[in-house]
Symmetry: C2
Subunit: 470 residues, 2 copies
């Protein structure tokens, strides 16, 4: 969205109407509503350096009818709506640039039905992934998608979340079977039934997954589940260059080894981990592996991987199927986020990600490290290497204007680099506010098609405006 | 579409405009155009009992610019367009109920690029799946989706095709990475770059997959590839009841055995196969298995499966990783289509499919067999059991009006049964013309949302009208 468009969009909302709408919501929902500043602040807090933009009020929805009723009122008054899960997104998804109503879905946190024979579960959007897996513990099943934060399933669906084990289990796109959602006119739709596959019409499920609350509000999600693996093995191996590590990853994937996780940390991230977690890993690129399966299969996978790693000069490959030892091997990765955060005391961390075809991963990381060095920026890199996806955690002294001024241009170059390599400006963080400006560069006139879809769903542009593109 | 709607839609097209449009296309494309009756007949031929409805002309497109130019002309004249691959669909997808231009994409059959490191390939829509796999033979890679017919990749994408090994490799929805398509206004869009994952905006790729040519014409597809398995094993086992066979399937999937195919034939289909392929299988429900992986893994999978089958009373479980013997074990399945066709000489076969949650599969098949028996209809059943998907091949003496009159009500009951079991009226055959009337029953007001999307893409309703819903 250009500044012009933003101004135009701002003018489509009328402050007086919004206030009238909010007071109507307040009357209707009583105790479920709050306009206290601290609550409004919490609901625009994002884990980023995007400045907070507060909604005018927050509704704590109890059920889909609450959501539908509130949406109808907002639609009548053309009042923006911002759906809120746990607020763990990085790109300003829950900000309210034009004010409006934040709809908090945390009280809709029931696990409605586990379909054990069908390996499915139906949940409300406020269920978090940890809550879900705790609930499933006795069934022998689990839900694999793990974006790091204990995010809500509604939020994860809305942002097409993924994480470390997407290389084996896919992203939310692959694991959401059906969605119930409130449309901008208040109607409730269900995108599909629960068959494993269907060729009946447009794939509305996947249109809603990743739509960042701009097309409707998700009120129920049916997810795929998986049997908890009989055995989980972990592995770790160092390389002298990013290229060798990345080539190991490519060959592993090509060989059809069904790795469950294959993570790459660059030298500076390993250094941060050594400091934070009191480890003594060689400060060079590190691959961390996880293998799921039967004892036989996991042994075979671990050994085959070892042979590949050796071929590309991997040093000190260790692996284990003992849980405690596996956790030790993986400690660097588990602590990577906090290690990065505490690496440069007094700095703030700005986390971003891009994703490229795996053949371009090493080139993209190497160029990015050079870019950071050339600009005196510190940014540890952690990569979901099996997907060609990597994160840069740029450390900024926010009191140092010169340093802060370098961030924007660096992010622009990073996105541009990934897009030029036939990749994307965002592998898993979404677009939100932060990456809107890269959309045309990446997708060209497809963005016009997206806008047309948006307008056909939401002619009054009430659903999470200022995100994605409008 | 009700009769009323159909009449309304018919009125939106003007015969004179269509004729003018066709003659403009003829002038522009010369030898690439044909309006001969035999060519037009070929292009509305469908492998069904749906009556043929001929287009007014056929354009043999050579490249995306041809497609774009033709679409622009048709859009100006509001002339219907029917994209044509190899015409192997069952539900009247290539019929031209309102006349118009068939665009044949078979000459756009280049394999543009194999990205070996990224396990991707980019093809034109006229490439067939057999052509693709022949081309890939020396790379050690393959494209797994196999709907039976040697369909075109464009057609398979447009109908969200799947087939026997979807249980392991997914459907076209899971295997199309990016699409280039001509929109109804003639613009060419690309839905995404080639990164393995992205969270950048709406998932237009999956919106086009399964849209049956109603939103645009696919001119390029990037697909996922897989390493050819080191070893392929096949297996076969009989059961005394459909329920035991289906329970074996459920337990197999739950145990996380990554079966590549798990097919179920009912007793009458086995009988047909015995006759056609000169086999002497027990005439009771039969499961056929395929396992992909390393020697160790395939052995383990085959043995584990055998234990499960035994638990549910499976008889004479045989398996082999010898290719020749595997083909013998699988002969019944390979010949199933032709065995069904020739089972009742003098009859025509009407093939349909539904898909239900796997927990309901045996119930749905048993009720369907009873329904067939109660109505003196013959319909062998072949099921992609791991997906809860099954086909009924109803045999009809088309000269026997009484028999023919039973087909429609049987299909209605079958769809209704599947939908009531939280399934779909079409697992993989698509909607086309034949299943439009079930859409509201299955998806309710989601169909209105689909229609709104359709109209935002294609306000003149030129793209494959009379299919899906409009």
């Amino acid at each position: 969205m250009s500044d012009n468009e933003s101004q135009w969009l701002g003018k489509t909302y009328n402050k007086k109407n919004i206030q009238e709408c909010i007071s109507k919501i307040k009357d209707k929902f009583g105790q479920q509503f709050s306009d206290s500043k601290s609550i409004r602040e919490q609901h625009s807090h994002t884990m980023t350096i995007h400045e907070s933009e507060l909604p005018d009020g927050v509704l704590f929805a109890s059920n889909k009818n609450d959501v539908s009723d509130a949406v109808k009122i907002c639609n009548d008054f053309r009042c923006p709506i911002i759906p809120f899960g746990v607020g763990s997104s990085f790109e300003g998804h829950v900000n309210a640039p034009f004010g409006g109503l934040s709809i908090d879905l945390n009280n809709m946190n029931e696990i409605l039905n586990v379909y054990q024979d069908d390996l499915l579960v139906t949940v409300q959007p406020g269920v978090t992934r940890e809550q879900l897996n705790t609930h499933l513990r006795d069934t022998g099943l689990f839900f694999p998608i793990d974006p790091g934060a204990n995010a809500s399933i509604g939020g994860m669906s809305s942002t097409r979340a993924s994480g470390t084990n997407a290389v084996r289990y896919g992203t939310m796109k692959d694991n959401v079977v059906s969605i119930e959602a409130v449309m901008p006119n208040g109607e409730i739709i269900k995108t599909s039934n629960k068959a494993k596959k269907s060729s009946a019409g447009y794939d509305l499920t996947r249109l809603l997954v990743g739509s960042e609350g701009t097309l409707g509000i998700i009120t129920e999600i049916t997810l795929k589940l998986y049997g908890i693996p009989e055995v989980i093995a972990g592995g770790r191996v160092s390389f002298t260059s990013i290229k060798d590590a990345a080539d190991t990853v490519i060959t592993t994937i090509q060989s059809g080894i069904p790795v469950a996780r294959i993570e790459l940390l660059d030298a500076i991230q390993v250094k941060a981990c050594n400091l934070y977690s009191k480890l003594s890993l060689p400060e060079e690129p590190l691959l961390l592996l996880e293998f799921h399966g039967s004892k036989k299969s996991v042994d075979e996978q671990s050994e085959l991987f070892g042979e590949i790693a050796l071929e590309f000069g991997g040093n000190n490959y260790e692996w284990t199927s003992n849980n405690e030892e596996r956790n030790k091997l993986w400690k660097a990765r588990h602590d990577a986020y906090w290690a990065a955060r505490s690496y440069m005391p007094g700095t703030e961390m700005y986390s971003t990600d891009v994703c490229v075809p795996i053949s371009r991963l090493s080139e993209c990381i190497v160029e990015t490290v050079k870019d950071l060095n050339d600009n005196d920026l510190i940014g540890p890199i952690a990569s979901h290497a099996g997907d060609g996806n990597f994160h840069v955690a740029v450390m900024l002294d926010t009191n140092n204007e010169n340093e802060v001024s370098k961030l924007g241009p660096f992010l622009d170059r990073l996105s541009d680099r990934a897009i030029k390599m036939d990749g994307t400006c965002t592998g898993e963080h979404g677009i939100g506010q932060g990456k809107r400006k890269y959309m045309y560069n990446e997708l060209g006139n497809s963005v016009d098609v997206m806008e047309a879809i948006k307008k056909s769903f939401d002619p009054n542009l009430i659903m999470n405006p200022g995100k994605l593109f409008i």
